[in-house]
């Protein structure tokens, strides 16, 4: 299945791990789109850089708007404000990793 790769910036004042980010993504997708929606979006963290708070996350291409909506609706994690801001959307990991000059 074709996937989209999204470079995101995690805006969170605390330290966050790969697993915690995964939990935040999955719980938001499940909350707003249900189990079936989550399986359709199928978000996966490809890379996560805790120092720069950026990650490359992939999702099903057909469910890209649902993924965008799910991450837009994340507001808190572990009772602290959190937001996830997409910086670039690409069809390849390499493309997503390339930040605009």
């Amino acid at each position: 299945m074709t996937r989209r790769y999204i470079l995101v910036k995690v805006v969170y004042d605390r330290k966050i791990t790969n697993e915690q980010l995964d939990e935040a993504l999955n719980s938001s997708a499940k909350r707003y789109f249900g189990e079936v929606g989550l399986s359709r979006i199928d978000p996966r963290i490809i890379r996560f850089d805790a120092d720069s708070s950026t990650a490359i996350i992939s999702c099903e291409r057909n469910a890209t708007p649902e993924f965008g909506a799910a991450i837009a609706l994340i507001t808190t994690y572990a009772e602290a404000p959190m937001s996830i801001l997409p910086l670039r959307v690409s069809g390849t990991v390499k493309g997503a990793a390339r930040r605009e000059k």
């Binding site: 890209t64 965008g68 991450i71 937001s83 997409p86």
Partner: protein, 236 residues
Amino acid sequence: MANYLDLHVIPRPEDTQSCERMADLLSEAHYRTVGLTVATGLLNERIRAVRRIFEDRGLDTVLRVDLKPSSRTELLRLLRRFRNLYDIVAVGCLNHQVATVSCRDSRVDMVFFHGASRNLRFSHTFARLLRGAIELNLVSDLINRDDGWAFARLRKAIRVASDHHVKVVLSSGARSFEMVRSPFQISALAITLGLNQEDSIRAVSSTPSSIVTANRMKHASEYVEEGVKIVVPSRR
């Protein structure tokens, strides 16, 4: 890259740090123009300082005012007073009377309906009257809501707007840096609520851009009225 705009950003002028963080995120999210919503009584120096914070990050700024009158008379008085002072005039509709007049008045650029209001929503009646655009504050209306009401209200507004081909502007309504969302997220939210992809992209780029351009033209010295402007003949 398209010119993306978020016409409803509500910075706190007294909190410089929050404004700076907001401006940084908006710039990173690829916005080029932001509509700074300021209180009507705010001092000019304060407004200039806030604008400078955003402009230093490469963002073009437009000044916007949100009018929330409780009656038709108050709305008309506020429009007379503030129309020429701000680039964008938006009206938050609190009741049926205000909504009807603000949809019909050409001085109103955008109307929006409060997410919490259950009695009033964008209906076919307002869509038929609307001369400006309907603004949907997707982030501020949707986040931290446990009921499905806000989703249902926005879905209905999108369906009505599509039926009547009225202009739709998608904004965040961000009051803090945590509420800043990228154009991709705003348009994704609208797509999941039923707007088609082309319209959703237009609603964060060309539609708000056309409103800003038209209003800037009106503030130019050569502008007389709609369709009329002073043209100085070139000297050869």
